[in-house]
């Protein structure tokens, strides 16, 4: 898993997403909780960026801001040349056609079968005939080893299968940017390994820009060309996991110790059996 992304680190890429002085708070005026405090960073096109940080530090909020599902209190969020903060409903919808999103719980439609879930973006956003849609969906089902499950409902699937179906649905229209919200949360190590392999395969094939929000540290860092650490409203950007070890900020040293052990070789007792 480590080799696939390491080669990309030294190449320079244009930013496809830029946060410029962005702030976001929640709560009442009397009791305001600032999640992002005037943060700025860029996400390079075609690369994999991992956003990490403790719970409640604004990782998922950052994804929702990129998608325009939440509005920033101040600052600009430039996605593919357009400022999401100032876009109207219609322009925002147009911009979202460039995104694919894998949600934490899959966000599959309960009342639809696996086939219908995957076919939905094709039916709603293309003018393809039903035969062509069927062919495409069946091919995707084959690629993601989901054959034979097309008539099942989400409630009949395991957590890992739900994520695969969610990924299949997100990739149907070959998005330019893929956002992954905790793609391996709740999965066992084997399923986690499967999801990462699936990610690497689809990333290499489609060349999308990947933004991964994850708690699965340090394993998810192996996929990263860039790592963004969020802490108490502030942000630190690293070109790779090696750079994190060089940081002298106390909270980052603590983060490294807590998540990767003193040597930075993984959590105590954990073997990188998935490599």
């Amino acid at each position: 898993m480590t080799g696939a992304t390491g080669r990309m680190r030294n190449t320079v890429a244009e930013p496809i997403i830029q946060f410029i002085d962005v702030s976001k708070s929640f709560g009442t005026r009397a009791k305001r909780h600032t999640v992002l405090d005037h943060i700025s960073f860029s996400i390079p096109e075609g690369k994999t960026t991992v956003i990490a940080g403790g719970s409640g530090q604004g990782k998922s909020v950052t994804l929702k801001l990129v998608l325009g599902l939440l509005k920033a209190d101040s600052g600009s969020i430039i996605v593919d040349g357009q400022d999401v903060v100032s876009l109207g409903r219609r322009e925002l919808r147009q911009l979202r056609t460039r995104f694919g999103v894998l949600f934490q719980g899959g966000a599959l439609f309960d009342s639809m079968t696996v086939f219908e879930n995957i076919a939905l973006p094709l039916r709603e956003r293309t003018h393809l005939g039903e035969e062509e849609i069927r062919a495409r969906v069946m091919k995707t089902l084959g690629d993601l080893e989901l054959q034979g499950h097309e008539d099942k409902y989400p409630a009949q699937l395991s957590g890992g299968m739900k994520k695969r179906v969610g990924l299949a649905r997100a990739l149907q229209l070959e998005p330019k940017i893929m956002l992954f919200d905790e793609p391996t949360t709740g999965l066992d190590p084997v399923m986690t390994k499967d999801i990462y392999e699936l990610f690497t395969r689809t990333h290499q094939r489609l060349g999308y820009t990947a933004v991964i929000v994850s708690h699965d540290i340090p394993r998810v860092f192996d996929l990263a060309d860039q790592i963004i650490l969020l802490n108490r409203g502030e942000v630190d950007v690293f070109a790779g996991v090696e750079e994190i070890f060089l940081s002298e900020k106390p909270y980052i040293q603590e983060f490294v110790e807590m998540t990767m052990g003193r040597e930075g070789r993984g959590c105590p007792g954990e073997e990188k059996d998935h490599e």
């Binding site: 929640f26 709560g27 009442t28 005026r29 009397a30 009791k31 929702k64 998608l67 599902l69 919808r93 147009q94 979202r96 056609t97 995104f99 694919g100 999103v101 949600f103 934490q104 719980g105 966000a107 599959l108 439609f109 309960d110 939905l120 973006p121 709603e124 956003r125 649905r169």
Partner: protein
Amino acid sequence: MHESADFGETPLILRPFWFLGDATLYLFNDLGRMGIFLFAALVGMFRRPFRLGEVGKQLRFIGTGSIAVIFFTALSSGMVLGLQGYYSLHKFGAEGMLGSAVSLTLIMELGPILTALMVTGRAGSAMCAEIGIMRISEQIDALECMAIDPFRFLISPKVLATLISVPLLTAIFDVVGIFGGYLAGVRLMGVSSGSYFNGMMQSVTNHDIRLGIIKSFVFALLLVWICTGRGYFVQQIRGAGFGAESVSRVTTQAVVLSSISVLIFDYLLTAVLL
């Protein structure tokens, strides 16, 4: 994410004013988003591609699925009206007016109101819970992220199906209710069949029927707006809590709010249109 009332460091003496201002702001904020929601839902009905299949599915659920409930409610209401009407009119020797009393009460008042209340309880609550669950499980976010308009896809078919179903169910209610009144008044109490139907035909005018139809449309819009809207904004409703609990609380709130709104608008429409 809903924000709860928080006095912060407001002095004790100013807290009632703080609370009043905060509640007023919340009310206007809520009305504003519900207004925008209704507008988007109505516009969504005319957006292509039309989801006729989904409208058909909702018609089956809201309309066909409610026929049994409507039938029994209408029959019992009509029979009670027949008996009560006979009891009251008999005192004045005016049993011949029974058909008129039953039919006017049903067509102008009870038909639209009871149909709306039954549909709210049976289908409105289900719509609210369904949309609420879709919201908390990020299914609505998923629609937005796929650049699919959640109003056109999810809300508008329910609105259209309710606007079609409720007036038709009201018509069924009226007919079954009049039949119930006939059973109680004519078959049980011995009022003449001719005077029952003749009284009905002479007293019910097109204006009365129009009033009933207008009421049923307004009630349909109210109930579907409140029930779908509360589900859609489940995470922004103050005091609703989180997760499954929020859906159950908001569903209860939607049913209560819809029912009260139907009763209030019934008075307003009667006062304006009668």
